[in-house]
Amino acid sequence: MGLLTNLKDSISRAASTLFSEEDPKRIGIYGPPNAGKTTLANRIARDWTGDAVGPESHIPHETRRARRKENVEIERDGKKVTIDIVDTPGVTTKVDYTEFLEHDMEKDDAVRRSREATEGVAEAMHWLREDVDGVIYVLDATEDPFTQVNTMLIGIIESQELPVLILANKIDLEEASVKRIRNAFPQHETTPLSALEGDNMDEVYDRIAEYFG
């Protein structure tokens, strides 16, 4: 009767999802290009669902469409927190195809990538306005956080009164400075991690449960 039990279980699970009072919160992963947003999204998705969200690359603007991973169940202290992750394209105020030429890309491909990246930024901003219940803001800890994009995005997120978790990524790199990010956004808690190496992910999950549970 294992099959029947499984079927019954999955029906009741579907029903509880359908009729639960609260849908999973939709958490947008935001940040500048190449901060490690997709690496983090993949890390979270793999840890809790076994699947990945999208391809990672060291070339900026690899993610040019928002990608969703739904019903990611994170268990913390015996409690389950269910979220939908939205991995968004990196936000920037300038997109220039010549940047991609350095990565051995043909001009046509670079121009197309640039156009798609720009559409991606528009999409990311649109999601921020309409469709997210909380934000994981990912910063590359080796880069200066005092940028117009970061200031503006954090400002918008605050004005929406969305819960925001700031992550200082790439702490596996020698030149990373978590302190610099803490100083940049003293009104928020900053959690260090390396999404690539999986360093400090336990704390990240604690924070996710705390902020978005």
Binding site: D96, R115, V121, A122, E123, H126, Q148, T151, S177
Partner: protein, 249 residues
């Protein structure tokens, strides 16, 4: 040589990076702005603030001739305003004072012994904010970010000399109070006004040339319709909110 150390009188080209970590000669961190007209004739004894006569970047100047420069400055101001309006901490935010602080101020840009001059990073702002026409050195300085190693020391640990300002009353964090001048909050135009100015001057996506785009994030965020596809000629397809369809069909 628009910048001059108020301590030893050494002059620096506009946009010079040298002065970002203090005067190389005397380690002074106060500089005055010497417009081109004063070139060569000025002396350090003139005192700070004499360059204030040329201060550009008046937020109310909406003519938009220098659109790129002016807009980016206003975007910075808008961002600061967004954060401050939302932050709710009555101007006690250190980060908002960093870049945008000097940018919207119409007071003499530097050399004043006013609040914030104890913070070495405030000198960085000053270097960015006053020129009307950006030259190569300025563009370079704007693009290059000083690493923490380039700075004299952390704010607070190296708050030397007499001009450490009084902490703003009513804030509980002295570190943040130091870098927020009172006048800043008073002079700041409200968010709606800034947003309107931005929207008038800068469309949400500007095609510089095929493959090169400039984006106005605030405008992209503000618009109800959603840009889904760009074309090389600068046209783009949008997805309009569902409510808009009702009247048409």
């Amino acid at each position: 040589m628009p910048h001059q150390c108020t301590n030893c009188g050494r002059t620096f080209a506009d946009g010079s990076k040298e002065m970002l970590s203090g005067c190389p000669d005397c380690s002074g961190t106060k500089f005055q702005f010497r417009p081109e007209g004063f070139d060569g004739s000025g002396s350090a004894s003139d005192g700070p603030g004499s360059g204030g006569t040329s201060s550009p970047g008046e937020p109310s100047d909406a003519s938009g001739e220098r659109s790129g420069d002016a807009v980016s400055r206003r975007v910075g101001s808008a961002a600061a305003t967004v954060r401050d309006l939302v932050g709710g901490s009555a101007g006690s935010d250190a980060t908002s004072a960093r870049r945008p602080a000097g940018e919207s101020a119409d007071a003499p840009p530097e050399g004043e012994s006013g609040p914030g001059s104890a913070d070495p990073e405030d000198d960085i702002i000053v270097a960015e904010c006053e020129p009307v026409a950006e030259d190569a050195a300025q563009a370079d300085a704007r693009g290059g970010l000083a690493t923490t190693g380039d700075l004299p020391d952390d704010p607070g640990t190296d708050a030397t000399e007499e001009d450490v300002p009084e902490p703003t009353a009513g804030t509980d964090d002295s570190r943040t109070a130091v870098s927020e001048p009172d006048s800043e909050t008073a002079d700041r135009p409200d968010l709606a006004e800034l947003r309107r100015e931005l929207n008038e001057q800068f469309e949400s996506i500007r095609v510089v040339e095929p493959g090169q785009y400039e984006l106005n994030l605030m405008e992209l965020y503000d618009r109800e319709e959603y840009i889904i596809a760009l074309q090389e000629d600068g046209r783009y397809s949008i997805q309009v909110p569902e409510a808009w369809h009702d009247g048409d069909d």
